[in-house]
């Protein structure tokens, strides 16, 4: 009895801790396969195009003239992802701090990110106070613009290319993922010191 209880306690604890890569990676593969087995595909950025069309963007460009109702399933996945984020943050976590490498913490603190190592997202960019700062607001908006524009130009994002596309051994996805890393490395190593 005591052993069983101890075991149960350990399992529960483990759920509340951050999940290691060897659990998270296989679960992401499982999500991709679940979508494949319900006859769909894993890709989270095409929703953005659907949202544009729903807002009437089909009057502005042919790119948005498509039967968005056929994409409703993916909007349901989006609603699920929002609910999942709520559950993960509010019911499955004790502490939201992300334990990153102490070297990374030191580098970030030099850049002015004092919340590094103590938060899930940097307060310097994502706190409500930071929203009142025009520079922070611009960073978030420009970040979003680049994500949306780039994902559609490349025909997919991390889920569509890096997971689905590469899993299906697609050369275009490999080119896109190489692009993701060129862009990301350039941003962090060259532009960050200029921005922050």
């Amino acid at each position: 009895m005591g052993y069983l209880q101890y075991n149960k306690f350990q399992i529960m604890n483990w759920i509340f801790e951050p999940w290691p890569w060897y659990l998270a990676g296989p679960l992401i593969a499982l999500i991709m396969f679940l979508l494949i087995f319900v006859g769909k595909q894993f890709g989270m950025s095409s929703n953005l195009r659907t949202m544009c069309t729903m807002c009437g963007a089909d009057n502005a460009a042919d790119f948005f003239s498509f039967d968005w109702k056929a994409q409703r399933w993916n909007l349901v996945v989006v609603i699920g992802a929002i609910i999942g984020g709520y559950i993960g943050a509010h019911f499955l976590s004790n502490d939201s701090a992300v334990t990153i490498n102490p070297e990374t913490v030191a580098t970030l603190q030099e850049l002015g990110f004092t919340s590094a190592g103590n938060a899930y997202l940097p307060d310097e960019l994502f706190s409500i106070d930071a929203l009142l700062n025009i520079k922070t607001l611009s960073i978030l908006l420009i970040g979003g613009l680049l994500i949306g524009f780039g994902a559609r130009y490349a025909g997919g994002c991390t889920s569509g290319h890096a997971i689905s596309g590469l899993s299906n051994l697609q050369v275009p996805s490999l080119i896109a993922v190489i692009g993701f890393f060129i862009g990301g490395l350039f941003m962090i190593h060259v532009l960050f010191p200029l921005i922050f």
Binding site: W21, G25, P26, I31, F37, V38, M44, S45, C52, A57, A61, F63, W73, V76, V77, G80, I82, I83, G84, G85, S93, V98, N101, T104, T107, A116, Y120, F126, S127, L131, L137, L140, G144, L145, L146, I147, G148, G150, A151, R152, Y153, A154, G155, C157, S159, I163, L166, S167, P172, I175, A176, G179, F180, F181, G183, G184, L185, F186, M187, H189
Partner: protein, 137 residues
């Protein structure tokens, strides 16, 4: 019934994104600094299983849960759109510290500011739609 299955897959996805910290700005920064194996482990273990599973489905002509054949649509051939679009996406991924999936996860987790990133992403998609015919692909 099908709609419910999409909802549950989405919920599962949101939980995994949050709990794996793939939705954390800090993890993305750390990844691009090559100072942790975490994100590389997440992506590569997903990929190894993904490649193996898709090969299995193709070799054995495995059907979907609804008995329909599973089709894998190959990506259009090309180079420019993938490399240029990819670089632009990567710049945004590193700056905002999240890609489209985690944006939704973070909305649920209660980060109001991420709505600005979502608004930007929708606008970015709209701008791409306007310029699509003028861009090299």
């Amino acid at each position: 019934m099908r709609t419910l299955s999409y909802l549950f897959i989405g919920i599962f996805f949101g939980i995994v994104m949050y709990k794996s910290e793939a939705a954390s700005w800090f993890r993305i920064y750390e990844m691009f600094q090559f100072q942790s194996f975490h994100m590389y482990g997440v992506i590569s273990s997903a990929l190894i299983l993904g490649v193996l599973g898709i090969q299995l489905i193709k070799k054995n002509n495995i059907k979907s849960f609804f008995g329909e054949p599973i089709k894998f649509v190959p990506k259009d051939k090309g180079f420019t759109r993938y490399i240029v679009g990819g670089i632009i996406f990567g710049l945004g991924w590193a700056l905002a510290g999240s890609c489209p999936g985690p944006i939704y996860t973070l909305i649920g987790a209660g980060y109001v500011s991420i709505l600005v990133v979502l608004l930007g992403a929708i606008l970015g998609t709209f701008i791409y739609g306007l310029l699509q015919k003028k861009l090299p692909h």
